[in-house]
Symmetry: C2
Subunit: 242 residues, 2 copies
DNA sequence: CGCAGTGTTGACCGATCTCAATCCCGGTGG
DNA sequence: CCACCGGGATTGAGATCGGTCAACACTGCG
């Protein structure tokens, strides 16, 4: 579900192209790492850097896919909704990850910033054209998409077959792995309880109850708000089973 | 979830290469459609045609991904399991679809034939090497994988947020669209009730109950066994909501 | 200090699961 | 032609997990 750890900084809504790709923080990890100088310069001319605020939506489900891009800083959620408004988060996007649906088609998900964020965006048509000319980009995208598909399918097991306890524990383990580093260290959850519920297919209260049970069992600590520290990683992993 | 309609014929377990790609039934739709004569001949030399029986497993979850291929005839399921044996079907594979995980990595799913089937298989290493040399293949794979990812994510909405009724109705609608053609026509479900449950994240009894409710409501007919006729497609679609 | 938004807790309800009995269809053998 | 058999499918009864509704607590901020 999660791809790469990343940090968030202040952001504003201006667009600029003042920085070259050389200074780009995700240069080595994003799909552009497959490009050499000339091609990179060409791609650079097609893109611009955009800052978005937490909560802002970049693409709407079933609208035409007008833009694609790389995440530079911050995190996004991908979500879909039923016609009556039930929401399911289908992916979390981290810095260096790719956003949007290249090659025709409507966007199948809504893309919303979970934190203030900055991205390097391209008009979809222009990007498609560039990709046609540059197999390296398609190759990089392919590998990324295959990984993403594996992750989505693993999540289907969670949604279809796991209990609430297992789901919440799985999420916390993944969070800790991604954001936390050493055990015992405190991390800041990037998701509200509601968003955790939307990701896990659970009601907000069920998420909350599971977490207090884990806290009472001494497996985690919740110093308040979105702060989390994993006390017993093995125990938590056991609760996640899978 | 489903990609292409297909038929099933008798099959045996022998492998052969007697037929050229020209006569291949999925030539126009599989990823090899991106190849010209010479490259196609080269790929043909790497592959062989294999027949498998219903129930036979090609790849096991978390084993090394040793082979990939194109489905010629028949259908497969992709599935994952929890450590204690709960199963989730994460995809159904139809003729002309691609099977397996190219580019390193373990297979993340078990691939099992739902019907007698035949496929055109390659050793994964050999296929990877070929793909490196032929961007067209990677491009075709990319488009396919993007579609598959969209489908997987749509299914996540079903698993995470839909009721049992909606799930079963959604599946039947999709089945009818894929296999049925005209409304009222009878189709043969490729899945047992158990497999429908494993795909929908439901207990077998829940699937069965939903179907009899649909039958009693006159929306579908169940002439017995795996046979199904959709009587009121609009009504069924309404039950599927989404 | 109070307000608003978020998170927690409790009580209750209902959808879905589980367990178990029965049914039905297709195939087999007498 | 029919009785029997086996496996999948259906049906029923009861248990349970998670959802819903509602009250309350906490946190951060003006």
């Amino acid at each position: 579900m999660f791809e790469t750890a990343g940090t968030t900084r202040d952001a504003d809504e201006t667009a600029d192209s003042t920085h070259g790709c050389e200074s780009c923080g995700v240069r080595a990890r994003a799909i552009c790492c497959s490009l050499d100088g000339a091609a990179l310069a060409e791609l650079h001319r097609l893109g611009r850097r955009v800052h978005v605020r937490r909560g802002q939506t970049l693409l709407w489900e079933s609208d035409e896919s007008v833009l694609v891009g790389n995440v530079l800083e911050g995190m996004f959620k991908l979500s879909t909704m039923t016609s009556d408004g039930r929401e399911q988060i289908v992916g979390i996007v981290f810095p260096s990850d790719f956003i949007g649906r290249p090659f025709g088609r409507d966007s199948q998900q809504t893309v919303t910033a979970l934190t203030d964020a900055s991205i390097c965006v391209f008009r979809r048509g222009a990007f498609d054209g560039f990709a046609e000319e540059h197999p390296g980009i398609q190759q990089a995208l392919l590998r990324r998409t295959l990984d993403e598909l594996d992750r989505a399918r693993r999540w289907m097991l969670l949604l279809g077959r796991m209990t609430a306890t297992e789901r919440v524990a799985s999420l916390l383990v993944e969070m800790a792995d991604r954001l936390g580093g050493a055990s015992g260290r405190e991390i800041m959850l990037p998701l509200s309880r509601q968003q955790m519920g939307d990701l896990l297919g659970l009601a907000i209260e069920t998420v909350s109850r599971a977490m207090t049970r884990f806290k009472d069992a001494g497996v985690i600590a919740l110093p308040g708000g979105r702060r989390l520290a994993v006390r017993d990683r093995a125990g938590l992993r056991r609760l996640a089973s899978a």
